[in-house]
């Protein structure tokens, strides 16, 4: 855990159960572009560049809206054993995975 995150967690203290969504700062603009490129091009190898699915399932808002947020973030971050979905944690933080899920739910940027 980075120092900033630790301080932040301590600061939250008893209110740590507040939805972590609000606690997550968005990646900066340059990093957002990198993540968009990663999702479109590299996640796109299996899920399609337009995210309409391929060997992996479609990742459009309609496909994801009923799935729990934490599960989606965990799928990106830790992968899904027994399926071809690998863990992406060496390429992004958990907070960034959460940002990616939020974008997917809202309709992913180009």
């Amino acid at each position: 855990m980075s120092a900033t995150k630790l301080v932040f967690a301590l600061f939250l203290g008893s209110t740590a159960t507040i939805a972590s969504v609000q606690a997550v700062a968005s990646p900066d603009a340059a990093r957002q572009r990198e993540l968009v490129h990663l999702v479109r091009q590299d996640c796109g190898s299996c899920h399609g560049m337009t995210l309409q699915g391929g060997l992996g399932p479609a990742l459009l808002p309609a496909n994801l809206k009923d799935k729990p947020m934490e599960g989606l973030v965990a799928t990106i971050y830790y992968g899904r054993p027994g399926t071809p979905m690998p863990p992406w944690r060496q390429f992004m933080s958990e907070a960034e995975a959460e940002w990616v899920v939020q974008q997917l739910l809202n309709g992913f940027p180009h």
């Binding site: 091009q41 190898s45 560049m49 337009t50 699915g53 060997l55 071809p84 390429f91």
Partner: protein, 387 residues
């Protein structure tokens, strides 16, 4: 009268000059995956000569050729099937044949083009001349259960072999009667992810993702069923993560050996094609995606999955090891050899370029601008089984 005649003579000459006759043996196309374009290229001049748009979603596109090498059939991700005339540089015909496609193949006699689909899972056969639908084989492996189809390959007698990712089977459909295909089914193994047919058209191999091994079917004796080769090549060790599925399509059989990408291991597996036993494994820099033999079989070129897709390793089949390591560009997605292998063309997606290398000296000898290039397909594929 004489002046009228000479006028017509000039007209005829001008018409000839405008459309010089030429063959197609040194032509090809490059898929521009992000914007629905293909760039047409000439491997003799090493130049692009035309660019065509309107092919839909080409984010995972591939192409096969008519037997005269004039027409390319481009299979798009969105289920589009587009017939492109390489000489006139135009789209001849385009149909949307499914919701989500992954590639296709052309029959031995060149009359049937077959598309393989993820959604709805199955294959569809089209008249190569008109793109009219002839028949389809839904990949319904259990009642109401449809599988994504992978690895479609042409075989003799207008048969096509393919694998069912969800169904774990290899199917062989015989289109001798193109409107009434006959299909045989063979259990293969867990999660076949792609397939290839050997250059002689005899063996169909399906790489398995869900287990260590490759399923193999002898298409000369299909009644013997599919069997496993390279079983337990991972030796029970934990797999490394696979950030992009390898592709088997393309000949990777050279000098009596098949060179295959391992799954979850940074190795190329070497199999003796006579005995189908593993005879070696060659360490490479990352998870291999394409493992492609130069047409003469002397070299094997290997590209890699994300995040190592800037790299290419070249194996010398005589030495049995990597003899050249290069980092030619960003996002090397595909490689295509000229007909006799003196050049290789590499698509560098994130550099928006196709890079041309001399395969003997490994020197870059040219480049072509292309937007997010992916697959490169030369017309020599027209005459090759499995391409």
């Amino acid at each position: 009268m004489r002046s009228i005649l000479s006028f017509f003579l000039i007209l005829i000459l001008a018409a000839c000059a405008a459309t010089p006759q030429r063959g197609t043996g040194d032509l090809g196309l490059v898929i521009e995956r992000a914007n629905g374009h293909v760039t047409l290229v000439d491997t003799t001049t090493r130049q692009a000569y035309a660019r065509i748009g309107g092919l839909g979603d080409l984010s995972h596109a591939s192409a096969v050729y008519s037997r005269d090498g004039r027409y390319a059939y481009v299979f798009g991700r969105d289920g589009g099937l587009t017939k492109v005339d390489l000489l006139e540089a135009r789209i001849v015909k385009r149909v949307i044949q499914s919701g989500n496609a992954i590639g296709g193949s052309i029959s031995q006699d060149g009359r049937i083009v077959v598309a393989q689909n993820y959604t709805p899972g199955g294959i569809k056969a089209f008249d190569a001349e008109t793109l009219e639908l002839l028949s389809e084989v839904p990949a319904e492996y259990a009642p109401g259960q449809f599988s994504k189809v992978v690895g479609l390959a042409d075989s003799s007698g207008n048969r096509f072999a393919y694998a069912l990712f969800d169904g774990g089977e290899i199917w062989v459909s015989d289109f001798s009667n193109p409107t009434r295909p006959l299909t045989q089914r063979f259990p293969a193994g867990r999660q076949p992810y792609d397939g290839l047919v050997t250059p002689d058209g005899r063996y169909f191999l399906a790489g398995l993702f869900g287990e260590d091994g490759v399923a193999m079917l002898d298409l000369w004796q299909p009644e013997k069923g599919a069997r496993k080769i390279l079983e337990n090549y991972g030796r029970g060790q934990e797999k490394l993560p696979v950030f992009k599925m390898p592709h088997l399509r393309g000949w990777s059989v050279a000098q009596g050996k098949a060179y295959l990408p391992a799954i979850g291991r940074h190795e190329v597996l070497v199999v003796d094609v006579a005995t189908w036993k593993e005879v070696g494994r060659i360490p490479v820099r990352s998870q291999p995606v394409f493992v492609m033999a130069r047409p003469d079989g002397r070299q094997i070129w290997v590209n890699f999955a994300f995040p190592d897709n800037a790299n290419v390793d070249v194996i010398d089949t005589l030495a049995g090891q990597v003899v050249h390591r290069m980092s030619p560009g960003k996002g090397i997605l595909h490689m295509e050899f000229t007909p006799r292998g003196e050049q290789v063309w590499l698509s560098a997606r994130d550099d928006n370029k196709v890079l041309i290398y001399d395969t003997a000296s490994f020197q870059r000898i040219g480049e072509i601008a292309a937007e997010s290039p992916s697959g490169i397909f030369f017309t020599t594929r027209a005459a090759r089984i499995g391409f």
